[in-house]
Symmetry: C2
């Protein structure tokens, strides 16, 4: 049980949180190992020893991010009794997270690396995969609504509705990044939810 060797002088969990802050503030490509080492209070070589390279560290950071900032929206989807309430609560939880005064006003999953140099393609694929999971989670919640009986054969497809609200979530992140206030995001959410009744009515008249 006892750990051999020299014990490390920093707490990896704390260091990971500090790395999260830096990546959050500057994005993936905008963050250098120097930035990280300085913020984490250790030499860059220690980062390699403990976390692997920049890319490995970023993946670990995103895992932490998912269990912290990513949890409230996921919980909203999971715990709200009706599908409509679940979607609405997810949007509001998202708006809460991306306007917190103690953190940058955007979602890392969405904006930390949307574009970049070719050599960072793997990171973008990684994030795209996580976003795909996000879409699938929303879709699953809609399917559960059908199973629960509070959503009956929507006029628009489940896929379309899920993608629509995912689109709104992503758009909210950019709005917050551009300085929109929590109240302004709330008005956007209200507008987005105004489509709900139309979208979830039985298939009656026109499409397109």
């Amino acid at each position: 049980m006892a750990t051999r060797g020299r014990p490390r002088t920093f707490d990896p969990d704390t260091a990971l949180r500090q790395a999260l802050e830096v990546f959050w503030e500057r994005g993936y490509e905008g963050t250098s190992l120097n930035d990280l080492a300085q913020a984490m209070g250790i030499a860059s070589a220690s980062i390699y020893a403990c976390f692997g390279g920049k890319e490995d560290l970023f993946r670990k950071v995103m895992a932490l991010y998912g269990t912290t900032s990513g949890e409230p929206p996921r919980r909203a989807l999971r715990e709200q009794p009706t599908t409509r309430a679940a979607i609405h609560a997810m949007l509001r939880a998202t708006a809460d997270e991306i306007t917190r005064p103690d953190a940058p006003h955007y979602c890392m999953l969405i904006l930390a690396a949307p574009t970049g140099a070719v050599e960072n393609h793997a990171i973008r694929e990684f994030l795209a995969g996580l976003r795909h999971d996000q879409l699938a989670t929303v879709k699953d919640r809609l399917a559960r609504g059908v199973a629960d009986g509070d959503l009956t054969a929507p006029h628009a497809g489940l896929d379309a509705i899920a993608r629509y609200y995912t689109t709104v979530v992503q758009g909210l992140s950019l709005q917050a990044r551009d300085g929109a206030t929590r109240a302004e995001l709330e008005t956007v959410i209200t507008c987005a939810m105004a489509a709900w009744d139309t979208l979830t009515s039985a298939p009656s008249h026109r499409a397109s």
Copy 2:
């Protein structure tokens, strides 16, 4: 009239288009002067002589981008007879632009530099300003609708509706970036327009 001195061996307009391609593919921070010089077929010193530094070049590129890819959505807003048709056409024109087979599947204005190193703050501010203009343009179109009489004292505020559809536009860009097809974007647009009638009805019942 005759131009003194040695004439340049490249066409600045062509070079600017080539620079646009590179910035579009890799974003602002992901593009190096080497990348640009290689794609433009000239030495980096020629870039400095003709366009100024990287930041100046990017601003000129964005001006070109605005008059090309940015024009169809703007024209849709301007030329459609009714406000509803204008918004709908703008969304579809946006979807067309960000799924063109001959260009990256996203909007540069939105995703070329959403985050990044502190030294590139000015570029982000520049883009944020352009996006603010975008929002204002949508808002103006709604106001024109009220003046035209096809939009009467909307239940939701004009600001909220404008910001909502701007949010959708920005979300669409991320969807396309993640591989959504034109058809999938169309379903999102259909969902987004489903809110229109509710949003633009006279102020009657509840809010929030």
